[in-house]
């Protein structure tokens, strides 16, 4: 059978493969190469070694964005997962109206980041108006504004995954724990949490990468104001490429560093939480 299929390579694989080369592999390889070059368009590249990387680490906006992104990621990952798990926990207790609540909490996920950003800009500026401030008054407001926005958007998505995890726990495990005299807090800690470790792995992975790579919401909510102080990494890279002429190479070097950071975070997180998963 394999032989019969093999001849069909051009039909089955080629369309995807050509698009994949064009849409991913070629830009990726070129990107790596260009991060060592000085250029304004991709055709006039001149090799200059590690100069771009040196510039990246002396660029204060980048270092600030890195720190800001890291803080944002930690805060939002913890908040989103705790809230999502709490909501999932209550919504699996069989209370009346569970389906409607689930529908409502999931909804913001489908709205795009740009639109969400402007919705929250209106609401948060309206609240801050009572204190004669705006979102762009200080980067602290931008920070918590983004955290609230991200929680609002992502809690529903993670809640769905946690609900599926909780519902998949075999009923007799809980029953056995009850017969052994465990109270509900003990059941939560000793049975439910270890059993939903795979869901925790996935949800922390998704929230980590989503928060670290956040762009649209950042652009719409504050656009880095005041003076780049609420700028996250992705937006910083974008502004380096398209906001400063002559800095394209530095932008590309930033992008390579950004990619390495994302890959490192993803792999470490996966390794850490997978170790804690129990056999079912």
């Amino acid at each position: 059978m394999e032989k019969a299929i093999k001849r069909y390579f051009p039909i089955f694989v080629l369309p995807t493969f050509v698009a994949f080369i064009f849409g991913f592999i070629a830009p990726f390889v070129m990107g790596i190469y260009l991060s060592f070059c000085k250029f304004t368009t991709v055709t006039d590249a001149k090799f200059i070694g590690f100069d771009n990387y040196l510039k990246v680490f002396t660029d204060e906006t980048f270092l600030h964005a890195l720190w800001y992104t890291a803080a944002f990621t930690v805060v939002s990952v913890v908040l989103i997962n705790v809230l999502a798990f709490a909501v999932a926990w209550f919504l699996t207790k069989g209370i009346r109206g569970t389906n409607i609540f689930r529908t409502v909490f999931f909804m913001p996920n489908l709205i795009g980041g740009i639109i969400l950003g402007y919705i929250w800009q209106l609401l948060l500026n309206g609240i801050l108006l009572q204190f004669d401030r705006t979102l762009t008054y200080s980067s602290v407001y931008g920070f918590w504004g983004l955290v609230i926005l991200m929680c609002w958007q992502q809690v529903g998505y993670m809640m769905i995954i946690y609900i599926a995890g909780i519902q998949n726990i075999p009923g007799e495990l809980i029953e056995a724990a009850k017969i052994d005299g465990a109270n509900s807090r003990q059941i939560l800690r000793r049975v439910t949490l270890p059993m939903i470790m795979p869901s925790i792995t996935i949800c922390t992975f998704l929230t980590l990468t989503n928060s670290f790579k956040l762009f649209d919401q950042n652009l719409a909510l504050t656009n880095g104001e005041p003076s780049n102080m609420s700028e996250m990494l992705a937006l910083n890279i974008f502004n380096t490429f398209y906001g400063r002429t002559g800095w394209e190479g530095v932008g590309q070097a930033k992008a390579v560093i950004f990619f390495i950071l994302v890959a490192l975070i993803a792999l470490t997180q996966n390794w850490l939480t997978r170790r804690k998963e129990v056999q079912q």
Partner: protein, 286 residues
């Protein structure tokens, strides 16, 4: 893993009533930002920033003026058309092409197919910023700045996740079914479209849902690839309202925001079951 579920009735908690009340209030609070935008979309633009929490009455109320202005300034219906076209066809192309590719690379084992599989896996952890500049320049050089070109770019950039998910499912399909089809004289194309694709339907739905949520809301990729003087998607149109004019017309902005949310809510209410199942299935495999 056993699939036995909690029976909902046996777990009914004694605080059920109070919890229902609390969650009802929470749900209302959760929807508040959207209500707020709807309320403000009927308000005169001068009042939106200064009195966002007031119900538009009397001289604040402007009927549909904000909507009309918003539609005119952004070309909203054209943007809606472009978004719809790009999303529907990208998702279709992605589902068909990547499922074919995934089936081939799980059935034919050699170094090339293995290489493709690992490249797809690898591409999933690469952030868009990494390829952003080079991809947009390449697309410009190849004149892909139109909706059809954008579909091609989406196929390339979205292939990684889709191929990975289809591969996971292909491995679980018993070979005997396909062998039987081949014995009966099906060529690989017929085997795929008549036997394999129908079996893969649940995965197709999952992939389609995840890709739809991504492509419909994507801002940066179309912004960089499309010739935005000619074509705008909805997120680009919304952002354009901010960038295109010195001070933002909050009225038009509110109108466009409401118009952008309506199709999403309609889609969600009709396909809710599939969306939630798709998210769960996608999470287990991702």
């Amino acid at each position: 893993m056993k699939k036995e579920k909690y029976s909902e009735s046996s777990r009914k908690s004694k605080h059920g009533g109070i919890l229902t009340v609390i969650f009802t209030l929470l749900s209302i609070a959760y929807m508040f930002p959207i209500f707020l935008v709807v309320i403000n979309s009927f308000k005169k633009k001068a009042y939106i920033s200064r009195r966002p929490f007031e119900i538009p009455t009397g001289k604040m109320f402007v009927e549909l003026e904000n909507y009309i202005k918003g539609i005119e300034r952004t070309g909203f219906f054209e943007a809606f058309g472009v978004s719809l076209f790009v999303t529907v066809f990208s998702v279709l192309v992605i589902v068909i092409c990547t499922s074919m590719c995934a089936w081939y690379i799980t059935r034919v084992k050699n170094s090339v197919t293995k290489g493709i599989y690992y490249l797809c896996l690898f591409s999933m952890i690469v952030p868009f910023q990494m390829v952003m500049f080079t991809l947009s320049k390449l697309a410009n050089m190849m004149h892909l700045g139109n909706p059809v070109g954008l579909i091609f770019v989406y196929l390339g950039f979205g292939a990684g996740l889709a191929v990975f998910m289809f591969c996971g499912f292909c491995k679980s399909i018993p070979l005997e079914i396909e062998e039987a089809a081949m014995m009966d004289g099906c060529n690989p194309l017929q085997t795929f479209f008549r036997i394999v694709l129908p079996i893969m339907k649940p995965t197709c739905i999952t992939v389609a849902i995840l890709q739809t949520m991504w492509i419909w809301n994507d801002y940066l990729l179309p912004y960089l690839v499309l010739d935005i003087k000619k074509y705008k998607t909805i997120p680009i149109a919304v952002q354009y309202l901010k960038g295109g004019y010195g001070s933002v017309d909050m009225g038009a902005m509110m109108g466009v925001l409401v118009l952008s949310i309506i199709p999403i809510i309609v889609f969600y209410l009709f396909c809710q079951k599939y969306i939630i199942e798709g998210v769960v299935a996608g999470a287990v495999k991702g």
